[in-house]
Each structure stands twice: as C-alpha cells, then as structure tokens.
C-alpha cells in the first residue's frame, strides 16, 4: 500500500506541472494547437489537456484544435483510435498531409516507400502557415533523446521553424515566455519531465485506452540490424529476407517505415511497467530506424523545424 501511495505522489506532481503549462499556453497564445498522433505520449498529453479545462460537471471543451501531421504511412489501429477520440470528445481535428506536400513538390522523396518522418517537418511548417498557429504543443519527452534533453519547455522557433540550441531563452521557475513576432512560433512540451515509465504508470492509474498495437500481438517481422522490421505494404520483404511470426508490441508508434516493434508478451499497462523497469535498451534505440543514421540526427532534424 505504501508503495502505491508514493508512486501516485510523483505522478501528481508531473500532472500538475503539465496542466499548468497547457493552461499557460492558452493564456498567453492567440492561436495554439496540440499535436496528436494517436501515440501514447499524445494520448497522455490530450488527457491532461482535458483535465486542464475540466470545470465541475460541465462538459469539457478543449479550447484549441488537435493537429495530426499524417505521413500517409499509418497503422490502421492508430488512425481508428484518433477518429474515435474526435468522435467521443468533440475536439476539432486538423490534418496536415505529407502527401499534399509531395504533390506540391515541397517534399521530394527518392522513392515512394522512403521514410516520410523527416518530411513531416515540411508539412508541419506549411500547416502552421496555413492556419496561423502561434504555438504548438507536442508530446516530446526529454528522456527520449539527447538533443531533446537540451530543449526548453517553451522552445522558440524562428520564421523558418528552426531551433537554435545555442540561443535558447532563459526559463525561470515556472515563468514561461511565449512572446514572439509575426511568423515565428513556439513549440511547447508539456510532458518534458516525464519518462517512459511515468507515462505507463499514468496510463495504468488513469485507465487510459491505447491503440491495440501497444500491447502484445502476433506480427510478421524481419530481423535487421538488431531491429525487428515489420513486414507491411510500405516495408515489404526484400529479396533474401527471412520473416518470422513473433509476439511483439510497439514501444513507440510513428511512421510505419521507421518504427519497429519489440519482442514482448505484455498484455496490459502493468505488464509493460514491469518490462520497462528492467529494460536495457532505450525507447528510440530499440525501435527507430531514423535515429540510427548519425549521432546528431535528431538535433539536425530539429534545426530544420522538426518537433
């Protein structure tokens, strides 16, 4: 019993901090939006947003739209989940399609099945310009990646969406500065201080539903460079690849072409908490093809406008 009480206490602290940040964005910014991909971090963040604007028994109305940058390479479970959320909560959903940027010619891929993860930055910037958003909240966490560990909660981006890690604004106590000029924008990370374990403990505590691919299921995969690459129509088997059917789950969900599942038999959040506590590989290390190309690949993508 004692153990359970202690766990709750640190989640309360994280929850309060995140709710404060989300309210601060709404108070300071004229036209904010929240990124929502249907992944576990954005599900937690959206849940926090609903808590932030829950007043008594009145129906909750989140005072900003949610925005999905759609690469077109999605797991159907995740899109179904996203649409269900929109139906259940009545929140306004805006979708920016990478496909549209490809048609316009602002995104060029070498071949049709190339990863569209980096291309998201282009579509994101186009969508920001189209709707005139001045602040975007994202579910990035500092424990995910070493460049993210360096970023402020309110991260200033210039008119090209670029992050300048050497000229970040000071961020004192809980005084956040969202002031920007025309064309610039703010990226805000309400769950910066959460770790993967915190997220799962919170999902368990709040009994949040997740897309089914976060839990164990049978999937056809190919072993490549210590990753289990799923066999899909976007990542088909190459000549000579040997596929296996394994029990896997996704630790992170993104563009199909760069996200891999991990071996697991965890069927609920409690099992996953137990697995996460003893894992010896980081979340992105086990699952992301796009972070493994270069030591500073995340930092470089951020400098180009990525989240």
């Amino acid at each position: 019993m004692q153990e359970q009480k202690l766990l709750d206490d640190h989640l309360d602290w994280l929850e309060a901090e995140s709710i404060y940040i989300i309210r601060e964005v709404v108070a300071q910014c004229a036209n904010p939006a929240m990124l929502f991909s249907g992944g576990k971090d954005s599900i937690v963040m959206f849940h926090l947003a609903r808590k932030a604007f829950q007043f008594g028994d009145r129906p909750v109305r989140v005072p900003f739209p949610i925005l999905h940058i759609d690469t077109g390479h999605n797991y159907p479970e995740v899109i179904a989940y996203r649409d269900q959320v929109v139906k259940d909560t009545g929140v306004k959903l805006i979708i920016g399609h990478v496909e549209d940027s490809i048609k316009k010619g602002t995104v060029r891929l070498r071949k049709a099945t190339d990863s569209r993860n980096a291309a998201q930055a282009v579509t994101l910037l186009e969508t920001i310009a189209q709707y005139g958003f001045d602040a975007l909240m994202g579910g990035a966490r500092r424990d995910e990646e070493k460049a993210r560990a360096k970023e402020r909660i309110f991260s200033f981006r210039d008119e090209f969406g670029q992050w300048d890690p050497k000229a970040q604004r000071p961020e004192l106590w809980n005084l956040y500065n969202a002031r920007i000029s025309q064309g610039e924008n703010m990226r805000v990370f309400p769950i910066s201080n959460w770790t993967e374990l915190d997220i799962w403990q919170y999902i368990a505590r709040e009994k949040l539903e997740l897309p089914s691919i976060y839990y164990t299921h049978q999937r056809e995969v190919v072993r490549k460079n210590n990753l289990l690459v799923p066999v899909t129509n976007i990542t088909p088997k190459a000549l000579g690849d040997v596929s296996e059917i394994l029990s896997v789950r996704f630790r992170t969900v993104g563009d199909i072409s760069c996200t891999c599942p991990v071996l697991s038999t965890a069927a609920n959040p409690i099992d996953i908490i137990a697995e996460t506590a003893i894992t010896d590989i980081t979340e992105r290390g086990a699952t992301r093809m796009d972070d493994q190309t270069n030591e500073a690949s995340m930092e470089r993508r951020k400098k180009e406008g990525y989240f």
Binding site: H10, D143, K146, K166, Q168, L172, T279, D280
Partner: protein, 122 residues
C-alpha cells in the same frame, strides 16, 4: 488538501543541479552517477563507445561519461557544456531530475534558482 497547503513541496520528486568552473568535471560527475545507478542503457553506452568525440575515458566504464549529458553536436565537438541538460532517474522511493549546467556565466545563477525552486532540503 490540508496536507498540501502545509507541505507544498512534493518529497518524491527531487531536483538537483551541478555547479562549478569550466573543466571541473560536472558533466562527467553526473555521467558517472547515471552510470553507477544503472540509468544508462546498453544502446546508449554502445553509441558512446562508437563516438568520435571522446576525450577521456574512465577506465572501468571505457567511455567518456561526460558525453552522456552533452547532447548537442557542438558540445561534443568542443568538449564543453553549452546549455542546460536534463536527465532523469528514479529509485523505488523517489524520482530525480538532474539539471546539468554549463560553467559559471551570468545566466547560471538564475538557472540555479530555477532548479532549486523545487528542491526539498536545500
């Protein structure tokens, strides 16, 4: 509720910060702390052993531990911490947030206060 008013600081989240002069070993100290608390996962250590920026290597860890927290490309190249980094680890009882600061500059005092504002027993 009453309890919260009396004790606004949550005992189960502890934030702490490094302070010191250039090349004192702030990042290395925290790297060592993370290494010894087994907060560094296998793939992170492997990435470190492959890095081209290592300056010194601790004999038993076999890697430059400062690079665990110096996450920016420029920091790794120059071997200094340019901006604050945040790292997390936890014990069964507490969650720890470590703030690794660059060496003394005008901003540092402000940053320290920021970090201290949520730290119990300071």
């Amino acid at each position: 509720m009453n309890k919260e008013i009396k004790h606004p600081i949550h005992q189960n989240v502890v934030r702490f910060i490094t302070a010191g002069s250039v090349d004192d070993g702030k990042s290395t100290l925290i790297g060592r702390l993370l290494y010894d608390t087994k907060s560094i996962l296998v793939d992170q250590l492997e990435a470190l052993s492959k890095t081209k920026h290592a300056r010194v290597t601790s004999s038993d860890a076999g890697v430059d531990l400062a690079l665990l927290t110096d996450g920016l490309e420029a920091e790794r190249e120059q071997g200094i911490t340019i901006d604050v980094a945040y790292r997390y680890f936890s014990t069964p009882k507490r969650k720890f947030i470590v703030v690794i600061s660059p060496h003394q500059s005008e901003n540092l005092l402000l940053l320290m206060r920021q970090a201290m504002s949520n730290t119990p027993a300071t």
